[in-house]
């Protein structure tokens, strides 16, 4: 079946099997390899992308379900001139990663969390709870949470 998505602002259209998962569409049909597959069971969050602006685990969404939608992946975060998104910059500044495998999913989950907070101030507890769907096997989360706290204070991301 034909599935058409706008990924990172660019329309993409491919003939895929109905059973194609969104993550496979993104990686194999659209060729964007920044979204990782971790557990493949809706647990680890490595495959998190934004679907119409909200975080989802793309291993548990059919590409067909997303037909016509806007998808944002890690490749769509930095500006065209390479300037990093405030969440990416916070990860760099606070060393929010070790091996980096979970990082794209973490960045997307935090981006969604910050977009949904409205005018609420997020505490460290809010951020830890907000990241309950993303697993990291290296860092013990400390620097990831530090990065998320820093991103929450970024003036560009204040509503």
């Amino acid at each position: 079946m034909r599935v058409t998505l706008t990924i990172n602002g660019t329309e993409t259209s491919h003939d895929v099997e109905a059973r194609t998962l969104l993550v496979h569409y993104i990686r194999d049909a659209a060729g964007l390899k920044g979204t990782n597959i971790g557990c493949d069971t809706t647990s680890c969050g490595a495959c998190t992308v934004l679907l119409d602006g909200r975080s989802v685990k793309s291993c548990t969404v059919l590409a067909a379900q997303a037909d016509g939608a806007e998808v944002t992946t890690i490749e769509g975060m930095a500006a065209a001139d390479g300037t990093m998104h405030p969440v990416q910059r916070a990860f760099q500044e606070h060393h929010g990663l070790q091996c980096g495998y979970c990082t794209p999913g973490m960045v997307m989950a935090i981006t969604s969390l910050l977009a949904e907070r409205g005018d609420a101030e997020l505490t460290e507890a809010d951020i830890r709870l907000g990241l309950e769907g993303n697993l990291c096997r290296c860092t013990g989360y400390h620097n990831i949470v530090e990065a998320a706290m820093a991103a929450a204070r970024a003036p560009e991301l204040r509503s």
Binding site: R19, S55, T60, L129
Partner: protein, 276 residues
Amino acid sequence: MIPSAFDYVRAESLAHALELLNAHGDSAKLLAGGHSLLPLMKLRLATPDVLVDIGRLSELSYVRDGGDHLAIGALSSHDDLARSRLVAAELPVLAHVAGQIGDPQVRHRGTIGGSMAHGDAASDLPALVLALGGTLVMSGPGETRVVEAAKFHLGFLETALAPDEILTEIRLPKMGANGWGFEKLTKRAQDWAIVGAVAVRLNGSGSVGVSLINVGSVPVRASAVEAAVAGGASPAEAAAQADAGLEVVGDVNASESFRRHLSRVLVRRALEQALA
């Protein structure tokens, strides 16, 4: 993991979805958020020939004030319910429970109707709907049926829904400021409850509704606890009856005796909050 092959059809309206179900019968499954069905399909535990996607039917995504109750469209996501001002004001226990399901990504996709229709005893919302004495509205080829929550869950992943019916609305009594308690024990924050307990002070009679998550093949009311509270027992005395008369199963996560123990402890905590 890849599901086995199927045909995908997107329903354009409720009437269209009913037509599709009627045409395909048992070989079709409804797809809403997909967060119960797709994992089963990836494990090949479910192999439907046709998926009827109702996920875009915005006509089934709403929370309406029904006077003495809230009418909740089956396609309302857990995140919608957790953030709804109407739910927060009239049924805060629902906002709280919905906001604790899975994780944010799961709550963005999972729906209350999907959770009810999937009928997993380990899910939180079916037990809450049961404790509240909610009703479920089901559309089919004939008349619309309204079924009490107590008659909806029939067995392991089995509900009163016929293959050609669609759950469209869940009606839950408004509780205003009535006391409530919700307790669940999970190994990790995003997990299903090993055991969970809901206690809600019901309107009018001063009685409480108490139900248990993941003790058996269906969500169950702790009737002995409800009767004990009605008879004047303290939360601790009543909670001692939490697993009385219930068939409790053991599995890889917890033995039967541990689940019985958890039932009593979590019901006591939930009752103490509901009756405080």
